[in-house]
């Protein structure tokens, strides 16, 4: 592992993404539009206050998952991956470089989307907005890490997109948004306990409902951090220098 190569990779990936207007729009504009829609749907009710913070954190997870998995897949299909792996670049350097680049983008995304939802749409949480930004960013970085891992199980960009509904939608059903997790059938509750998105929702709920969320935030944030680390380690272990 070589931090210099990680930074060089992150710089190159950022340069590529910043040049791609569609990806930028998907990361920064789409979540804002979705939040506007949500606010409109729930115009006259208290529901926006209830589901708003949760969905605000779920959107970046899904979007960063797709963007990252397709970007890393492109590296594989363009032949540049084979070439990179004949240079001094380590597998960990490459995965961390991608994580760093998309992690930075997730921070920008978190700040932009949370600020606009607060100012423009009046989305309000009991805890201060800083906590909400923290959870949104964590959710985006989690999506990035899992996207990096998922791309190891796809051979084409099309397959990478197929992975999204297969892995993200079940988590969405079980994350506590439709039915609170403690009211799920026991087996599903246990399953939802290990799925990463459940903890994103737990964290968002803590921020939405508590002035001092620190206590209830600790566990979900630790689980999210754990998933990020596990996904990045597995992501670099599943990368093969020698292929058939």
């Amino acid at each position: 592992m070589n931090p210099r190569l990680t930074v060089v990779t992150a710089g190159r990936v950022l340069r590529q993404v910043l040049r791609d207007r569609r990806t930028l729009a998907l990361m920064l504009v789409v979540p804002v539009v979705l939040m506007c829609l949500l606010a409109w749907i729930y115009a006259d009710g208290p529901l926006f206050e209830r589901v708003g913070p949760t969905l605000l954190t779920v959107f970046p997870f899904v979007i960063m998952f797709v963007v990252t998995s397709v970007a890393t897949l492109r590296e594989r299909t363009s032949g540049t991956l084979e070439r990179l792996l004949t240079t001094p670049m380590g597998k960990g350097d490459l995965v961390l470089g991608y994580a760093l680049a998309f992690g930075l983008l997730a921070v920008v995304q978190g700040i932009v989307v949370t600020s606009i939802s607060g100012w423009l749409l009046g989305l309000d949480t009991e805890a201060s907005a800083v906590w909400l930004v923290l959870v949104v960013v964590a959710s985006g970085v989690l999506g990035t890490s899992l996207g990096l891992l998922a791309s190891a199980f796809a051979a084409t960009e099309f397959q990478a997109v197929q992975l999204m509904p297969a892995t993200v939608l079940p988590q969405f059903l079980l994350c506590g948004l439709l039915v609170p997790r403690d009211q799920l059938p026991r087996a599903l509750e246990l399953l939802s306990d290990v799925l990463p998105l459940s903890h994103v929702v737990d964290a968002a709920t803590a921020v939405a409902q508590q002035v001092q969320p620190r206590g209830d935030l600790a566990t979900p944030m630790l689980v999210i951090a754990g998933w990020i680390v596990v996904a990045l380690v597995l992501g670099s272990l599943t990368l093969r220098r020698r292929t058939p």
Partner: protein, 240 residues
């Protein structure tokens, strides 16, 4: 310099259940230009992938510059150009080449990239995105990215495909110049008139070496007028 830059003994490779190289022996002498020729699907790219250490192999020994293929110390001493150009389409030629210079830890990546781009005669397109280039131009951008770290061994998979005669002549001039400076080059090609520019020719068919000789010897042995004729004679001889 008596040591060979590449030594392959009994290399055995199976790809997707298909035995591609049953047991290949090959030597590439240091400082020479060695052409790897043969029919499509004969295993040229597979041999090259084994040399740069990205091919899963079943058995045999591949030694490169005195180290096992794929050894970490080789990664800044060996340059590799894949058969399909592998550059980032959304980056310019200069950005692509300087990125590889940075990965190799070259001191002044910008200057090194300019020099490599100049060598493949692409300076006029240095600021173009590579997805806006012609196939031959993209191939040369890919080649520049392999030249940039001043490697001791260059493994080039069909570097002149899709190029006009003038450019092909210029690139072979460049390859010769590199060899004169002590660089070893293993170059695969389909274009037979390029064969005469190599120091040695290796003819590969269905994973077997049909011939490994100097171009002059090859013509003499087969009595053919040119490399293409020699090639066809040897393929027919092997098939008979």
């Amino acid at each position: 310099m008596t040591q060979d830059a590449i030594e392959i003994d009994g290399l055995r490779v199976t790809r997707r259940g298909r035995l591609v190289l049953p047991g290949l022996d090959l030597r590439v002498p240091t400082g020479q230009v060695v052409g790897l020729l043969g029919p499509s699907g004969g295993g040229k790219s597979t041999v090259m992938r084994a040399v740069v250490g990205v091919q899963e192999v079943e058995g045999g020994r591949v030694e490169v510059l005195g180290l096992p293929a794929g050894h970490p110390d080789l990664r800044h001493r060996v340059g590799y150009v894949t058969q399909a150009p592998s550059v980032y389409g959304d980056l310019t030629v200069a950005e692509n080449v300087s990125h590889f210079a940075r990965l190799l830890g070259v001191r002044d990546p910008g200057a090194a990239a300019r020099e490599a781009v100049e060598r493949v005669d692409l300076t006029s397109h240095a600021q173009s995105r590579t997805d806006a280039l012609s196939g031959g131009q993209r191939g040369r951008a890919s080649l520049a990215a392999a030249l940039v770290g001043a490697p001791e061994l260059l493994v080039l998979d069909e570097p002149t495909v899709g190029l006009d005669p003038v450019l092909r002549r210029d690139l072979w001039g460049l390859f010769r110049q590199l060899a004169d400076d002590g660089v070893t080059l293993l170059i695969s090609s389909h274009v037979m008139d390029e064969a005469s520019r190599c120091d040695r020719l290796v003819l590969l068919r269905e994973g077997e070496v049909l011939a490994d000789d100097t171009p002059a010897h090859l013509l003499q042995r087969t009595g053919a007028a040119d490399a293409e004729g020699a090639f066809l004679a040897l393929v027919d001889e092997a098939a008979a």
